[in-house]
């Protein structure tokens, strides 16, 4: 075998070493990718939780723009509206964040937060509850989530919030 000129030999050595490294890393990457993705989603979900509890609320329903990107990231770029609905009744005040897709009016997420002062016995375990990825229309929601929390008043309050969010969605769509 004819000997290679020296610079070419150096380049070849480095090249082969580089390919071996890249291959090893590609392998490890494939092994660890699902775990990494899971961690990222967990982190994003936690950030959203903080946003929910802290969002400003004076209006009854408001369209949140600043968290829109965060939610769109969570749902692979689908365009959404994020509504923050406050529902005050004689028993409690709840904040509900409702995420509705712009296109087809599907509820993607409902998150509920309770302020610290609630009457005892109602919704204590309700705080910060997420109903998670729903992907349902309003009609589906009304039937499926009837007895969500075991406390009728609070789940009715949540349903009222969702309805209000939906009304607002229709208003925006028709505008």
């Amino acid at each position: 075998m004819k000997k290679l000129p020296y610079p070419a030999y150096l380049a070849l050595f480095l090249g082969i070493l580089g390919i071996i490294s890249a291959g090893l890393l590609a392998g490890i990457n494939i092994l660890t990718a699902p775990a990494i993705k899971a961690n990222e989603e967990k982190k994003l979900a936690e950030q959203l939780k903080v946003i929910e509890v802290e969002s400003p609320k004076i209006l009854e329903v408001e369209l949140l723009e600043n968290v829109q990107n965060a939610y769109e990231g969570l749902y692979s770029g689908k365009e959404v509206y994020v509504f923050n609905v406050q529902n005050k009744n004689q028993y409690l005040t709840i904040q509900t964040l409702v995420v509705i897709t712009k296109e087809d009016g599907k509820i993607l997420n409902i998150s509920v937060g309770l302020p610290a002062t609630n009457p005892p016995g109602i919704g204590g375990s309700f705080e910060g509850v997420k109903f998670g990825l729903i992907d349902a229309t309003q009609e589906d929601y009304d039937s499926k989530f009837d007895k969500v929390t075991g406390a009728t008043i609070s789940s009715n309050s949540v349903k009222a919030c969702v309805k209000l969010a939906f009304d607002q969605y229709k208003v925006i769509k028709e505008a």
């Binding site: 050595f13 890393l25 490890i28 660890t32 990494i36």
Partner: protein, 222 residues
């Protein structure tokens, strides 16, 4: 040439401690020692990279063309650093967030490149492996020492891992003093490390002087 493996291992702990004696890897020492937990995590990562890069470089030392040996070392070391990065991101994400960019910076940590150049490229695999473990452990001792000092003086707690903490506040209360966040700040880092190295030096010099004295006396007495 037979190498005394026990000495090979022990030298990295004190006599040739990479942080205190060779003064290498200072960047990471300053940044990572805000809590014992991150110190331990970083040390484990460094030991992993140091061990595998020493072994691999020792294995291929005879076929590395001399002119490109530094780039070759760098590629080998960085590969293992990237492996650690991926594993940490997947299974220890909180640690990865704490250490931040310093995990990637292990690749340019002078200790690892230094050992590759000074030892692994010139010794057999077994010696290189043991050298790596010794140096790695020396690094760990240095980092943990500084971490404990900074964390205790800074927050009164020692975080071993996650929620396992040792609360030393009772000692503080006993002396009626409070821990100060100064020590976990960047200014505190410099001061603590400077003082620790100074004290270690003082101890080493004192021990050396004593040994010389004893030697002289033995000589004088025949």
């Amino acid at each position: 040439m037979k190498v005394n493996q026990k000495q090979n291992f022990l030298k990295g702990l004190i006599k040739e401690n990479p942080v205190f004696v060779f003064v290498l890897g200072i960047c990471s020492t300053l940044a990572v020692t805000t809590s014992l937990e991150s110190g331990i995590g970083m040390s484990l990562a460094v030991i992993f990279v140091l061990f595998f890069s020493n072994v691999v470089i020792s294995l291929i030392k005879n076929i590395i063309p001399n002119d490109i040996r530094i780039p070759v070392f760098i590629i080998v070391i960085t590969t293992f650093v990237s492996v650690v990065e991926l594993i940490m991101q997947a299974y220890l994400p909180d640690l990865y967030d704490q250490l931040g960019v310093f995990v990637a910076l292990i690749a340019v940590n002078c200790i690892i490149l230094g050992r590759a150049e000074a030892f692994a490229s010139k010794n057999n695999v077994l010696s290189s492996a043991i050298d790596a473990l010794g140096m790695g452990l020396g690094y760990t001792i240095a980092i943990c020492l500084v971490s404990i000092v900074r964390e205790v003086l800074g927050t009164g707690l020692i975080t071993i891992w996650g929620n396992a903490k040792i609360n030393l506040m009772p000692i503080f209360d006993f002396f009626h003093v409070k821990p100060s966040a100064f020590f976990t700040s960047n200014v505190g880092a410099f001061i603590v490390l400077g003082i620790v190295i100074g004290i270690v030096n003082a101890i080493v010099f004192a021990v050396k002087d004593k040994k010389e004295k004893i030697k002289k006396e033995v000589k004088a007495n025949g």
